[in-house]
């Protein structure tokens, strides 16, 4: 039986299919920054998202958040991202952004801790108030959470949950870690 607390995969794929007649517009943004190897680094991801005006009215992502995004999908520990992962990231980010915008009604670019708690719950995570509070505390400045911090938090939650899941063989919400593996899996996030 699937442990319930993990959180459903983030909602939000391409709304009803993207205009994929000729070429995927995302591919355009991607290839502008990717080099010969078809991989992008954190800096290039930042440039890419900024160029695509992903953040819209919000401030562009800072470099640390981009680094977190790369490592969320970095299965081969290459510290870079190919186009398939980029598309996956775009879908996930779009879902999170839609959600953030639905909470940030006054378009201030920030949400308060209560709204953040709701956001975490509505993503499907089942955490105690203490756990949620300590997570939120990490990302608030002056009691507010910016879009960038919100995304960083979502990315981390997802990465850590993936890491945990892999070591929860029985899917009971309990995982076993050997020390060396714990260090490496946790530091890779």
């Amino acid at each position: 039986m699937n442990f319930q607390g993990y959180g459903a995969p983030a909602a939000g794929g391409f709304p009803g299919g993207f205009p994929g007649q000729q070429q995927d517009p995302l591919y355009g943004y991607f290839t502008t920054v990717a080099g010969q190897d078809g991989q992008i680094s954190a800096e290039e991801l930042q440039a890419c998202l900024t160029q695509a005006n992903f953040s819209g009215g919000y401030r562009p992502f800072n470099i640390e958040t981009c680094r977190l995004m790369i490592s969320m999908l970095d299965r081969d520990m290459s510290c870079s991202m190919g186009f398939t992962e980029f598309k996956e990231l775009w879908a996930v980010l779009s879902g999170w952004k839609q959600h953030f915008m639905s909470i940030d009604r006054d378009m201030s670019g920030t949400v308060d801790p209560q709204e953040m708690t709701q956001a975490i719950t509505s993503m499907g995570y089942r955490l105690s108030p203490q756990a949620t509070n300590s997570i939120i505390k990490r990302y608030s400045s002056n009691g507010k959470i910016s879009f960038d911090d919100y995304v960083a938090c979502c990315v981390k939650l997802r990465s850590l949950t993936d890491a945990f899941r892999k070591r929860d063989q029985a899917q009971q919400g309990v995982a076993t870690f050997q020390y060396d593996d714990f260090i490496q899996s946790t530091m890779s996030i």
Binding site: Y6, M77, C79, L127, Q130, A175, Y179, I183, M187
Partner: protein
């Protein structure tokens, strides 16, 4: 097993420095003469060899390690600990910076961390450098090297707390795992 007795950087047992020597340094660093060295003052006094400011996260970690009164700075008594801590790290850094470049590259980092007792895959060192190298040179400067070791140490400490039978394995719930790790990495 390596996990047991490792990952404390080797303690350098130099003779404790002369009090007046320390006091001279303290006064020079405590620019506003407040009697305590703040994050900013410590940051200004330290060099990472790159002509860019010392990693502020590392400065914060060091101050909070020795600030027993939670005042946001260190007084003269606490400063002795700070001085020793940094001097030890300088010695370690010099030891492992074998080509004397002022930076620790991947090979040197491997030697350092293996020397401390960590057992990490070759691939993982790429991740470490990507994560901690603020200069974007593919090598770590002095402050980033300290930061990397501090985080590794914190993770180890939190692991140890859960490894009650000390066998190098822990079993944790999802919530425990998130609380353990979320604020460290």
């Amino acid at each position: 097993m390596a996990y047991q007795n490792q990952y404390r950087p080797p303690q350098y047992n130099n003779a404790p420095p002369d009090q007046s020597f320390l006091w001279n340094i303290f006064q020079r660093v405590d620019k506003d003469r407040s009697g305590a060295i703040s994050d900013t003052e410590l940051q200004q006094a330290l060099s990472n060899g790159t002509w860019t400011p010392f990693n502020p996260v590392t400065v914060r970690s060091i101050i909070s390690m020795f600030d027993r009164e939670n005042k946001g700075g260190v007084n003269f008594n606490e400063f002795a600990g700070v001085w020793k801590y940094i001097t030890d790290w300088q010695n370690i850094f010099r030891t492992y910076d074998r080509d004397n470049s002022g930076f620790i590259d991947k090979t040197e980092l491997k030697q350092a961390l293996t020397g401390f007792g960590y057992r990490l895959s070759d691939q993982f060192y790429n991740t470490l450098i990507e994560k901690f190298d603020r200069q974007k040179r593919g090598q770590v400067a002095f402050d980033d090297f300290i930061q990397c070791c501090i985080v590794l140490q914190r993770l180890t400490d939190v692991f140890r707390r859960y490894d009650t039978d000390q066998d190098g394995w822990i079993q944790v719930s999802y919530e425990q795992y998130l609380s353990m790790v979320f604020n460290v990495v």
